[in-house]
């Protein structure tokens, strides 16, 4: 218990570092671009448009109706993208965060989990900007708004925890085995196709439909859509799917990271 208190005190002391690193990332990312922060909104919007054109023109998708709820494909696409991009960006940047901070870790004492945490938080901020894009598209397509939209932050916050856990595992792992970096990019792409971002689960073959419940991202995306598009409370499975994966990822991540962090400095 006393140890836990020490950890909290340590975190409290370095909370400004977290702020500073996030604002540094934002500044560096948009430095010298004419539109600056606006890109955070434009980028998901443009990406969505590309996918919209591809999937509506080539695969003839225009509506993603469920029962008698009519859902515009653009909104369906963007909600999936928003959640999945948060996951892929957060975990991929967190993965290299410890290696990328080698100069710092070798010189001063800093609690090292700050680095993956900062990347996840930075991606979270990016996702919040993407929400503006979602609002624009929803207004434009006259998508009806339900009261449940007020709960849309819940899957985001659970996903934050999940991403942090995965980020801890990956960032510690890559210090010792750089191969993970190359492998993970493939993994994220594969997982993207196993997540119903641009299709509905009903079009999947049976084997894929039996696999998909084991994909945590499926639950995050569907929970977010339940709140934002369909206006219903997610079923118990979605709560278990998101909650359990977040807790497991966090615990495994923390244990693994804590066990290996003292040796980071020798390998970076």
């Amino acid at each position: 218990m006393k140890k836990l208190g020490l950890y909290c005190k340590d975190f409290w002391r370095y909370r400004h570092l977290l702020n500073n690193l996030i604002s540094r990332d934002i500044k560096v990312k948009y430095r010298r671009s004419a539109l600056g922060l606006l890109w955070s909104v434009l980028n998901p919007l443009l990406m969505m448009m590309v996918m919209y054109v591809v999937f509506s023109q080539i695969f003839h998708m225009a509506q993603m109706n469920r029962g008698d709820v009519e859902v515009n494909f653009a909104v369906y696409l963007l909600t999936g993208q928003l959640i999945y991009n948060f996951f892929s960006e957060a975990t991929q940047t967190a993965m290299g965060s410890v290696l990328g901070s080698a100069q710092l870790i070798k010189k001063v004492y800093i609690p090292k989990y700050i680095f993956p945490l900062e990347k996840v938080a930075f991606s979270f901020v990016n996702m919040l900007f993407s929400l503006i894009a979602l609002v624009i598209v929803m207004v434009f397509t006259r998508t009806p708004v339900h009261l449940t939209v007020l709960l849309a932050w819940i899957p985001m916050v659970i996903l934050f925890v999940f991403n942090f856990g995965i980020g801890l595992i990956l960032s510690a792992g890559t210090v010792f085995f750089r191969d993970i970096m190359h492998l993970y990019g493939v993994g994220v792409t594969a997982l993207m196709y196993l997540t119903p971002i641009m299709y509905d689960v009903s079009i999947l073959p049976d084997w894929a439909r039996s696999v998909i419940p084991f994909n945590p991202m499926y639950w995050f995306v569907s929970m977010f859509r339940d709140f934002v598009i369909y206006g219903v409370m997610p079923g118990i499975n979605a709560w278990i799917g998101t909650g359990v994966s977040a807790v497991v990822a966090l615990i495994v991540g923390l244990v693994l990271f804590k066990k290996t962090q003292d040796r980071f400095v020798l390998y970076i």
């Binding site: 570092l17 500044k27 560096v28």
Partner: protein, 251 residues
Amino acid sequence: MNMIEVRDVSMRFNMAKEKVDNLKEYFIKRVKGTLKFEEFYALKNVSLTVEKGDVYGLVGLNGSGKSTLLKIVAGVLKPTTGTAVVRGSIAPLIELGAGFDMDLTARENIYLNGAVLGLEPSFINAKFDEIVDFSELRNFLDVPLKNYSSGMVARIAFAIATVTHPDVLIADEILAVGDFLFQKKCEQRMKELMSGGTTVLIVSHSIDQIERLCNKVAWLDHGHIRMDGPVEEVCAAYKSLDGSAPSQGEA
């Protein structure tokens, strides 16, 4: 009161004969049992106590373990065995400018580096002018750091690191930065801190500097403490070392 207590610290590095940093090689070697390391002790059973108000110097030849010891005290490295305890706040001047981002301006970097050292933004606000005045770089505050010379970067870094009044200051060869006027200024600042009750642990190859600043010295030799005590005795012994003398550590 003992501000720094280093008890029986050993630091072992595994020097892999060949660097294994991919999974396939690792598992093949692991299964074959050919994962070989050469063990190397940078420090072996080193104990050191620094009392409050001491200015403690570490001397020794290259590779004797001075910097490793300093990094252990600063908490950057964790010793393989033994413990290192520091009481109070530490200002590490191990390598200046840790955490500077070359794409940001000096102004932004002052806040970033302050956060790296665990300082409150309000504290940096209050001390901002003092930092800028000390570094004498007011005209270049909004220039990205990548356009600075290394001496200018070092000035900013030193100014931030010493603006606090730490209980313990850990310094590694940092007075070798900047031009001679700035070096004098740095030494002056160090002396101010010392007279303010800060305990200092310092590594330097300049034996003059050690004699000028320190009251106690430890002489490290191949990871062992060969001699420690008052500055005059140890420095005299250290200076009498010549290239032909055998060193204990190799025995």
